[in-house]
């Protein structure tokens, strides 16, 4: 048997690092953005990172029910969709009342 020209491998750790990077970017976006919709985008990025991680575990980890990771991912997507709908509705509702979506200026609960 000849040695193959190229023998690349993909390990669980690789995928988890990619997921972590995605999560960190999402965290940064969520914490730093001024616009409420920008914050929401960060949250969505973090949820995606979580999904990547879940699916990686489902694919690589020894388990009785390996598909559970995928089931969880679908639940995450479902909840994320619900969350996006409500959050965007909130953004629009806040805009209606305060005429801004900048989270700096949304300070109703400050005192």
């Amino acid at each position: 048997m000849t040695t193959p020209l190229l023998a690349l491998t993909l390990h669980l750790e690789d995928v988890l690092v990619v997921g972590a990077a995605l999560f960190a970017i999402g965290l940064y976006v969520a914490l730093s953005k001024r616009n409420a919709i920008g914050v929401l985008m960060g949250v969505e990025l973090m949820l995606n990172a979580v999904n990547v991680t879940l699916l990686a575990f489902s694919r690589f980890i020894e388990s009785e029910q390996p598909l559970d990771g995928q089931v969880f991912a679908v639940f995450v997507i479902t909840v994320a969709a619900a969350e996006a709908a409500v959050a965007l509705a909130l953004a629009v509702a806040i805009y209606k009342h305060r005429e801004t979506v900048n989270i700096d200026e949304i300070d109703l609960l400050r005192w």
């Binding site: 690349l8 993909l10 995928v15 970017i25 995606n48 995928q70 996006a84 409500v86 509705a89």
Partner: protein, 174 residues
């Protein structure tokens, strides 16, 4: 461990796309462009899901995230005035950057430090049918709760965005 050259190359290409687009979400100045890059991030993530042999989740991701959530976000962005469509940062930019870096460092450290129980199961074949089984047998309660949640979210969104006073509109024929 996946030891298939094509799949590994595909994964790294997709990972680069995804993370690059995610960085663009953080970097671009226009909120609408950020949403479009976000959609591209979602598509890239869907590609990674396929590499991780989760075809159902990947397709659902494209359908719901790239197709619906990003469209919804565009809608919300376009509803806000043009002056607010900048993708600017608050004063917390530097702390956020530090915090995100810390989180990344910790997670990477933990990931590399842990001894994972790796299986050599290989890729799943088609997952849609077995996922369906899982939803309707062991996970039927969460499944129903999720559907109730979606319903509640829908009603909540309608209530939140409802116009308080309905402007007089001409008879539209309904």
């Amino acid at each position: 461990m996946i030891a298939d050259n094509g799949i590994v190359i595909a994964f790294w290409l997709l990972a680069a796309t995804t993370i690059g687009c995610a960085l663009m979400v953080a970097a671009v100045r226009e909120l609408v462009q950020a949403v479009l890059f976000l959609a591209l991030t979602f598509v890239g993530a869907a590609g990674m899901y396929i590499v991780l042999s989760a075809d159902f989740v990947a397709v659902v991701q494209v359908l719901i995230y790239a197709g619906a959530v990003s469209v919804l976000m565009t809608f919300a962005v376009m509803l806000t005035p043009a002056a607010d469509r900048r993708n600017s940062e608050t004063v917390f930019q530097v702390p956020a950057l530090i915090l995100a870096g810390l989180v990344l460092a910790i997670v990477v450290f933990v990931t590399l430090d842990t001894d994972w129980a790796i299986s050599d199961r290989g890729a799943f074949s088609a997952t849609a049918a077995s996922l369906g089984e899982a939803f309707l047998k062991p996970y039927v309660v969460p499944f129903e709760v999720a559907s109730v949640l979606l319903m509640v979210a829908m009603i909540g969104a309608i209530v939140l965005t409802q116009e308080d006073e309905v402007p007089p509109r001409r008879q539209e024929g309904e």
